[in-house]
């Protein structure tokens, strides 16, 4: 059962090959057997899962089931879940139980999906390796001595090891796409505003976006159908019709114009990764697409721009963790200042503190214009790159990450860690959608192909990804031992 995609599980449930209870039990058992090695879950919601599965089986038998009813799913521990701990990978929220569901969680629950548990992640989604989690690093099922990527590393590893058939992720600077690439998954970061951010704990509000992490593009389309849509609880969500993502998966891509930005293929890219990306592009040519070299000249600005804007927003977003109303509070505070200093000093990890410091500095009077305001201008310049490019091509392709998964502890210097986001960050600054799909292996380690689209062109990206997955089988590979 556990090797099936969501599309296959839907058929299996409908054909009564297995019940949701059997299916859920299968995944829970797998989590018990394998997660000691991977550390992909922070919380396993066994009891609630079995309860939900029972409910789902009832709906399946009485005809009130929806398409996804009874299918298990793992939620990144950044989405608030009513009555279940939501830690955001932080000691600060180790004791936090939200009294509400995130809109995404509410939608999946309503669809009858069964939540298996909450997945590990970089603390407050700040990291590219899942090493900043309070709950310890997640290990990459393809090589347990390597990182799964981050910040949605727990979700990626769980699906890669088939401890869950799919999971949710969030992407602020690549946090869905990069771990998807490093773990051989399909990961979609939707257009900013397409998926509600309500109840999704904020890292950098103008960049954060939730999305699906799945085995196939077909599965991603199924989950997107539930996640996407206007939410009146999120002022930045967009009131725009949601297309039928599954309906266009098989559309022909003949004549589609693919842009290859030369900046994404320069010396920073490992040659073997480049080779695999070129091979994937050739597949697309065979499918009838045309290839165009383009330029995104301001790509180099995206990392410095991002590392001003994201910390600035996070420095403010994380002010609410003060030990007063919820979350971690230090022992025996002597006075208010002591309460603040020690609660935050003890509750946050090093990377979170680093970003709060950077962001506070960037917003300070006297530095605001030089950093935050300048970064906002550069953000527009980076976005303009894409606007110009999409006047000439339909989609843009390149690598998701400059290299395959690196070793645990290999990037101890924050700057080298930040630079590993080079190909994913510009997409968040512009707010456009992008998908990462499996494109081959180097020494047994997966490589991801990134496809970027214009605003609200998720259907096109899913269509492109699906057509590729019809002619390749990288995405079907499962790590040995799982």
């Amino acid at each position: 059962m556990h090797t099936k995609t969501i599309a296959e599980l839907i058929q299996g449930l409908r054909a009564k090959e297995f019940s949701s209870e059997e299916l859920t039990r299968c995944y829970l058992d797998r989590i018990k057997s394998f997660d000691k090695q991977v550390n992909s879950f922070v919380t396993i919601t066994e009891e609630q899962a079995m309860q939900a599965a029972k409910q789902a089986d009832k709906r399946l038998s009485d005809g009130t089931a929806e398409l996804l009813t009874g299918v298990p799913l793992a939620q990144k521990d950044i989405f608030c879940t009513s009555g279940v701990k939501t830690s955001c990978g932080s000691k600060m929220l180790d004791n936090f139980i939200a009294p509400y569901d995130a809109t995404t969680v509410e939608r999946f629950n309503k669809a009858g999906m069964v939540m298996l548990g909450k997945t590990n992640m970089d603390e407050f989604a700040m990291g590219s390796s899942n090493e900043t989690s309070y709950y310890g690093p997640v290990r990459n099922p393809w090589d347990l001595n390597r990182v799964p990527g981050g910040s949605s590393g727990g979700s990626a590893a769980a699906v890669a090891a088939r401890l869950a058939p799919a999971a949710t992720g969030t992407d602020t600077g690549g946090s869905i796409r990069q771990p998807a690439a490093l773990c051989n998954l399909t990961g979609l970061k939707p257009t900013y505003g397409r998926v509600s951010r309500y109840g999704m704990i904020a890292f950098a509000s103008s960049l954060d976006q939730g999305g699906p992490m799945t085995q196939t593009a077909e599965d991603a389309a199924l989950l997107m159908q539930v996640m996407a849509g206007f939410d009146q609880k999120d002022s930045t969500s967009v009131d725009r019709e949601v297309p039928d993502y599954s309906a266009t998966l098989n559309d022909s891509i003949k004549g589609l114009r693919i842009g290859l930005p030369k900046e994404y293929f320069d010396e920073g890219l490992e040659p073997e990764v480049a080779k695999l990306i070129q091979a994937a592009i050739q597949e697309y040519e065979k499918l009838g697409a045309t290839i165009h070299e383009i330029s995104l000249p301001e790509t180099k600005l995206s990392v410095p721009t991002y590392y001003v804007i994201a910390p600035a927003e996070c420095s403010s977003n994380l002010s609410r963790y003060d030990g007063v109303r919820f979350g971690y509070r230090c022992e025996n505070p002597q006075n208010l200042e002591d309460l603040y200093k020690r609660s935050r000093g003890e509750g946050f990890g090093a990377e979170v503190k680093r970003r709060i410091m950077i962001g506070t500095y960037a917003l300070s009077s006297g530095y605001y214009d030089a950093y935050y305001l300048k970064a906002q201008k550069l953000r527009r310049i980076v976005s303009d790159d894409f606007r110009k490019a999409f006047a000439e091509v339909d989609v843009i392709m390149g690598p998701t990450s400059p290299s395959p998964a690196f070793g645990l502890g290999a990037k101890s210097d924050p700057i080298s860690m930040y630079l590993s986001d080079i190909y994913t960050i510009a997409v968040n600054l512009a707010g456009i959608p992008a998908i990462s799909i499996p494109a081959g292996f180097i020494n047994g380690l997966p490589i991801g192909l990134q496809i970027m689209g214009n605003y609200f062109n998720e259907a096109k990206l899913l269509n492109m990804a699906h057509r590729y997955q019809q002619v390749t089988d990288w995405h079907k590979k499962i790590p040995a031992g799982f």
């Binding site: 950044i78 989405f79 608030c80 939501t86 955001c88 929220l93 936090f96 939200a98 009294p99 509400y100 995130a102 951010r197 309500y198 109840g199 999704m200 704990i201 904020a202 950098a204 509000s205 103008s206 009146q232 609880k233 999120d234 002022s235 930045t236 600035a312 927003e313 420095s315 403010s316 994380l318 002010s319 609410r320 003060d322 007063v324 109303r325 919820f326 208010l336 603040y340 506070t360 917003l363 300070s364 009077s365 605001y368 935050y372």
Partner: protein, 477 residues
């Protein structure tokens, strides 16, 4: 040296919406602590603000009321600072691009002169919660009911030159927000509160002196006292060769003084930046125009009309229009055919005093406008004297019936029958032969004595004019 005070005011008007500015929680005053704070007001992880559109309409109303530029594109910013009653660690406010831009309001000074006071801006923001330092030994309690309550912060230009002018400005603003129906103006509950920026400079000097900001003064009287205290304090320092420190000061109404709260060096760096959770506030001219069309008659227009239409003095007009209900009450009385002057005197005099004594608003008055008009008409048609009218008013206040009913029941009808009054005069003359002899021998001053005796004997019911006329004839014999 002669000194001049320069004052600018920041008023926080609580907008009278049912729900908070960024959440659906209720805003009612006086609920048990933390019963009107939802997850959004508590700043819980992952929650997001959604703007209550009603506050936008209210802000536009205010902007139109002060002849201001309405900014069709404005931005919500985060003002970052740590305090236990500020749940998110930032307050959502408007910094660089407020919804209401420059405008002005005309105030009337004591000498009748009209002075134009510039309004720099008005912006929307959320209130913080409340810290309770009593009743928790060694700890503080936090009540977040008020967190997220919508406020309009109205900033004036430093155009005010005295505490009296500042109060006149505040009262004008207070009347305006209540006319517009955007704020209940309740100063005790903190719905209308003010910070004052005060500085002094030698008269005729152009540059402004260093200012001190006086925080949260919650009555007109305290504003006046606090500003006067502060002006004197600053002058004294300067005259002794000292320097004013730019700082925030707190007014202590018990000791009538201002005290330093924090200096400039401790001033916060609020790290304002646009709130990424909220889109810029954008609306079109059509919305402004539809709101303009819905505006009621505003205080300034009403004042002018009252003076022109009813021949009222500027002072009377200002007092009457300060409260919309009072103005309406006045017009209802006058519409019954009562003279404006008589109506004004009674509304501002006996009625105001009685309302004040019983702690009632005018729309809760036990005597309706129609009922008061009936009473006043009885004065005008000489049924009763002004003095007897006070007795009748008192009885009406206690629910003993209408004016006519009280007059009939208590036999208070004025005596205008000449022969009846003559009879009383004759009785008085007979009872006071000595005084009569003295008067007739030239002691004119005793006339008043006879008037008093006649009125006393008639229980105040004799028509005073007739008593005068008849006495003169009779006393002369």
């Amino acid at each position: 040296m002669e000194w001049e005070a320069v004052i600018g005011l920041e008023v926080h008007a609580q907008l009278s919406t049912q729900a908070k500015i960024f959440s659906g929680a209720a805003t009612a005053y006086g609920a048990a602590p933390n019963t009107q704070a939802c997850a959004i007001d508590l700043g819980m992880p992952g929650v997001l603000p959604v703007l209550n559109q009603e506050v936008v309409v209210m802000a536009i109303k205010f902007g139109l009321g002060v002849n201001a530029q309405i900014n069709k594109h404005s931005v919500f910013d985060r003002k970052n600072y740590f305090y236990p009653d500020l749940p998110k660690g930032y307050q959502i406010s408007q910094f660089k691009q407020p919804v209401v831009g420059e405008g002005y309001i005309d105030i009337q000074l004591d000498n009748g002169e009209i002075k134009r006071i510039g309004i720099t801006r008005a912006h929307l923001e959320e209130d913080a919660g409340k810290s309770l330092h009593e009743d928790f030994s060694g700890m503080s309690g936090i009540d977040l009911n008020r967190a997220g309550t919508p406020l309009l912060e109205i900033v004036s230009e430093p155009h005010l030159r005295s505490a009296t002018e500042a109060v006149a400005y505040l009262k004008t603003l207070h009347a305006l927000v209540r006319y517009l129906g955007i704020c209940d103006g309740n100063m005790q509950e903190g719905s209308f509160r003010c910070d004052a920026n005060v500085s002094v400079r030698p008269k005729n000097q152009k540059e402004l002196g260093t200012r001190a900001e006086i925080k949260n003064v919650n009555s007109f009287r305290f504003v006046e006292k606090a500003i006067n205290y502060e002006i004197e304090r600053q002058i004294e320092i300067l005259e002794n060769g000292g320097k004013i420190v730019q700082e925030t000061r707190l007014y202590d109404s018990v000791r009538n003084e201002t005290r330093s709260m924090r200096g400039k060096e401790e001033a916060h760096d609020y790290r304002y930046f646009p709130d990424p959770d909220l889109l810029p506030l954008v609306f079109d001219e059509a919305l402004i125009e539809s709101i303009r069309a819905s505006l009621p008659e505003l205080p300034e227009q009403k004042r002018q009309r009252f003076q022109a239409q009813y021949g009222l003095s500027a002072y009377d007009a200002i007092v009457l229009i300060a409260n919309q209900d009072t103005a309406a009450y006045f017009e209802q009385v006058v519409n019954q055919g009562v003279s404006a002057k008589l109506a004004t005197n009674w509304i501002m005099g006996d009625l105001a005093a009685a309302l004040n004594k019983d702690g009632l608003e005018i729309n809760q008055s036990p005597i309706s406008a129609e009922q008061l008009a009936e009473l006043l008409k009885r004065i005008e048609d000489n049924t009763i004297s002004g003095k007897i009218a006070k007795t009748v008013f008192e009885a009406m206040w206690q629910g003993k019936g209408s004016a006519d009913e009280v007059i009939a029941a208590q036999g208070l009808k004025q005596v205008t029958d000449t022969s009846a009054i003559e009879k009383v005069i004759e009785e008085v003359m007979a009872a006071n032969p000595e005084q009569l002899a003295d008067y007739r021998s030239g002691k004119d001053k005793l006339f008043g004595f006879f008037v008093g005796q006649v009125m006393k004997l008639s229980k105040g019911k004799a028509n005073p004019q007739q008593v005068n006329d008849l006495l003169k004839t009779k006393l002369h014999g």
